[in-house]
């Protein structure tokens, strides 16, 4: 097997097994022929990876555990590729990557080289991820404000955190809207314990309340990204639905329009094929 073929086969593995069963040879020959044109290009490899992942997210027919494991591995690799492509890991800087404080609030006009390579962002209760500074700071350092509100990919702070996630969509946040950046209002959750007695659990600052947007009908990664961008903790459950296409959200709990605490968990039901 020559180098080109090995490389094509590695890329092919991003596609689900069922797709490979019908397309393997023709797709491999396309990849190998294309590599002859120019060198295989981070952009085009990423294009293959993204399309493979897209198919996996809508078309899998495997056990949940297996899906979880294989998607976790692909998330790690994807995060690495995106990171290297954007130089987000600071791999090419002489002093190595540096990490910013949490939450990072760049002063307007901060010089680009004074901003840490990694910026901490809130991804969920007790969890901090990192996003490359390229997503937050204007390269010339002229103004950082217009980037607030942008959705940025987030790499979890360590491998265990990343593997522990249930869904890749959680890896995106809307910059500048984490509950950590909002004013502190002491709050509490009210529930019932096993004996039916009312319990009140105080939640430490920082905290805030928010109204849930509607994510029913959205593509699952978008929905998870939308919700995690608000700071809430998102749990994805897989369900079979006769009416909602695979990879889209069937329902959410609590329902949209409900006012919840920013640290409350939201469960979204992702449609999977029968």
């Amino acid at each position: 097997m020559n180098k080109r073929e090995r490389r094509a086969r590695r890329l092919l593995r991003w596609y689900p097994r069922s797709w490979r069963a019908t397309h393997e040879e023709e797709f491999l020959s396309l990849l190998e022929d294309s590599m002859g044109d120019r060198r295989l290009w981070p952009g085009r490899s990423l294009n293959v990876v993204m399309n493979g992942l897209r198919l996996r997210s809508v078309g899998f027919r495997r056990s949940p555990q297996r899906v979880f494991y294989s998607s976790s591995v692909t998330i790690v690799l994807l995060a690495l590729i995106v990171g290297i492509a954007t130089n987000g890991f600071g791999l090419f800087s002489a002093s190595g990557p540096t990490k910013g404080a949490m939450p990072y609030d760049p002063p307007k006009g901060a010089p680009y080289d004074k901003i840490p390579d990694y910026l901490s962002v809130y991804i969920g209760p007790g969890e901090i991820g990192y996003t490359p500074k390229a997503y937050l700071a204007a390269p010339n350092g002229a103004s950082n404000t217009p980037l607030l509100g942008r959705v940025a990919p987030v790499y979890a702070s360590n491998l265990a955190t990343l593997l522990g996630r249930e869904y890749p969509g959680i890896g995106f946040v809307r910059l500048g809207t984490s509950p950590w950046s909002l004013p502190c209002e002491p709050a509490e959750t009210i529930g019932k314990n096993a004996g039916g007695v009312k319990t009140v659990t105080p939640i430490p600052c920082p905290s805030t309340m928010l109204t849930l947007p509607n994510v029913v009908g959205m593509v699952t990664p978008t929905a998870a990204g939308e919700l995690s961008g608000l700071g809430v903790s998102v749990v994805v459950h897989n369900v079979h639905s006769p009416s909602v296409p695979p990879g889209h959200i069937v329902s959410m709990s609590p329902m949209s329009g409900t006012t919840i605490h920013a640290r409350q968990q939201v469960i979204i039901a992702n449609s999977v094929p029968d």
């Binding site: 023709e26 020959s29 952009g43 293959v48």
Partner: protein, 109 residues
């Protein structure tokens, strides 16, 4: 008929290019890429190409033929030809209207 192509959403660009390329005769993946690059100056990356091919097969606008060696050629179906024609004619209306209005309002001034 053109509704079928616009239902492809973000794939409608590659889909139109692929259908236009196959209007000439069956082609496999790599020759599609080269042909489209030649007449439109657009390079369809492998992942994008196959995402669009899958959708077009699903919609019955193209069909895969028996592989020749490792490569599988794709062919335009009758439905695909009708759909492409309707889509291009709708685009022509837009193009002609735009050009006419540009020449009226912008070249005079």
């Amino acid at each position: 008929m053109s509704g079928e192509l616009s239902s492809l959403g973000r794939y409608s660009g590659p889909a139109t290019l692929i259908l236009a390329s196959l209007a000439e005769g069956p082609k496999h993946g790599y020759s599609l890429t080269k042909d489209i690059d030649g007449f439109a100056g657009i390079y369809l990356a492998p992942g994008t190409l196959y995402a669009a091919l899958d959708r077009l097969v699903e919609l019955g606008l193209i069909e895969g033929l028996e592989p020749v060696g490792r490569r599988r050629p794709y062919r335009l179906t009758a439905l695909g030809a009708t759909t492409l024609k309707a889509h291009l004619e709708a685009q022509r209306t837009v193009t002609e209207t735009g050009l006419r209005r540009l020449s009226g309002a912008w070249e005079a001034s």
